[in-house]
């Protein structure tokens, strides 16, 4: 549990004798713990880097924590394939997440234009309107459950609008998302019982395929000029997308599009609500917002470890270590983002950095398809919120922040401004 005002500045993990000694062998529990306890992971990320950066806590499993190794793995998709079974209730590989080049590139050629910056420019007014409509709902109350009343709703509604999906069905989409990403919300047994968890996810996965299947059939009969109609028309190398291709893209869109920005927003606002100086910087100079977004992405890394890769052959890393074929490699983006070799003052959160090459959106060919949309939503939220609610804090009594497993997000982040 993180206490409020436990600031990021003042961390001296680099010189901390507790972590600066012989870290050649971190206990396996400590290594795996970094994947589970997401409250304040940055010091533990630094431990992983100091323990060598590329750790193999058990046979067949590796974690990549340092920047250099991570860049190498992301760049060499031929050595580290994305064709892994994610067990997210999907019955086929997700597209394009679980596809390798050269086929991957063809899917991205089709999908990238949908989320290009120029398309996002067209959405600016609509996104601004949605942010303000949500703020209207609680601004006079002087407080809100930011997670439930803003973060969960705003990116979802933007995404549905972009996809041409009905906004009235927003609660249903959130329920489908939760069935995959937070199955314990459907069945409390899913917290601890892996079978219960798998069962919820499988059931929800089928519902997702059924929903989009019906939608595809409807659009095939009555084209609507929307994204799904576009998929039905599209061709890759002269071939139409199959019905299953379209289902596998939609499945990915649902789970990737509905959670990530929501989670980012809760992490951002948990930080800002506990760091008055940073809030003040945004209010006094809104031109720092784009840099603030990049820096908060770097520090918070809401998607801490992304999609695992699998080694396609034995190979040697830049640091000289060898990786055996078949090893599952988890890339810890959050760790690469605080690697002192890349960023010497990495434990300072600074909105005035002149260099910030973070990997919060991943890297290599699988760079997040939605990153331009995400950045736009985050920037607009910071702009509009601070224009209307320039000062705010964690509501007294709610200082204990909970970061449940999954992507980094704060449950029930409660803010007050009166």
């Amino acid at each position: 549990m993180q206490q409020a005002c436990d600031g990021a500045s003042g961390m001296s993990g680099v010189d901390d004798p507790a972590t600066g000694g012989d870290v050649a062998a971190l206990p396996e529990a400590d290594v795996m713990d970094v994947l589970v306890d997401l409250t304040e992971p940055q010091p533990r990320y630094l431990d992983l880097i100091k323990a060598g950066g590329f750790l193999q806590p058990m046979d067949g499993l590796a974690l990549s924590a340092d920047r250099e190794t991570t860049e190498h793995i992301l760049r060499h998709h031929e050595l580290f394939s994305s064709r892994v079974d994610l067990n997210l209730g999907n019955v086929r590989p997700l597209i394009p997440l679980n596809v390798d080049p050269p086929l991957h590139s063809k899917y991205r050629k089709l999908l990238d234009p949908l989320f290009a910056p120029k398309r996002m420019d067209e959405q600016e007014a609509d996104i601004t309107r949605r942010v303000n409509a949500l703020i209207d709902g609680f601004v006079d109350r002087g407080e809100c459950n930011f997670t439930d009343e803003f973060a969960d709703l705003f990116p979802t509604s933007v995404f549905l609008g972009l996809m041409g999906l009905p906004e009235e069905e927003l609660p249903m989409f959130l329920r489908l998302r939760d069935g995959i990403l937070h199955p314990e919300q459907h069945d409390p047994n899913a917290w601890l019982d892996p079978d219960a968890r798998a069962s919820v996810m499988a059931r929800t996965g089928q519902e997702i395929y059924d929903y989009f299947g019906a939608l595809i059939d409807e659009r095939a009969a009555h084209p609507a000029g929307d994204v799904i109609s576009g998929f039905l028309e599209a061709e890759i190398d002269g071939d139409k997308l199959t019905r299953e291709d379209i289902l596998d893209i939609c499945f990915l869109f649902l789970i990737a599009g509905l959670d990530t920005v929501s989670d980012s927003l809760t992490c951002f606002y948990a930080f800002l609500a506990t760091h008055p100086e940073h809030r003040r910087m945004i209010v006094e100079d809104p031109s720092c917002i784009p840099n603030a977004v990049e820096e908060l992405l770097r520090w918070e890394s809401p998607v801490p470890s992304g999609v695992p890769r699998v080694a396609t052959q034995d190979s040697t890393l830049p640091n000289g270590q060898t990786v055996k074929q078949g090893t599952a490699v988890m890339i810890i983006y959050g760790a690469a983002n605080v690697d002192p070799a890349e960023c010497p003052d990495s434990f300072d959160v600074r909105f005035d950095r002149d260099t910030n090459r973070h990997l919060a959106f991943g890297g290599g060919v699988h760079r997040c398809l939605g990153s331009h949309l995400a950045r736009r939503e985050l920037r607009i939220t910071l702009r509009e919120w601070h224009r209307r609610i320039p000062d705010y804090w964690i509501k007294p009594g709610h200082e204990e922040l909970q970061y449940p497993p999954g992507l980094r997000h704060v449950k029930d982040l409660t803010l007050a401004w009166r």
Partner: protein, 76 residues
């Protein structure tokens, strides 16, 4: 050369994108909009290959901030 090692006002610097390395993060055209622009898919394109002195800071910011190190400057 100035103490920072940069040359002002004598030669333009030449900037380029390695398109095999570019994965469309978009830092270049965000930080250096007078030097780079986005194509229709979000990947970087050079607008001004021979960068005049007044745009050199932008160009160097792009070099520093590309997560894929896809941007380079050829000092002449």
């Amino acid at each position: 050369m100035t103490p920072s090692g940069r040359r002002y006002g004598r030669f333009p610097v030449r900037v380029s994108i390695d398109h095999n390395a570019c994965t469309g993060h978009g830092r270049c055209y965000t930080l250096a909009p007078d030097v780079f622009e986005s194509d229709d898919s979000g990947y970087g394109q050079v607008r001004v290959a021979e960068v005049p002195p007044e745009l050199e800071d932008q160009a160097r910011a792009a070099v520093r901030n590309c997560p894929e190190r896809a941007i380079s400057i050829d000092e002449r």
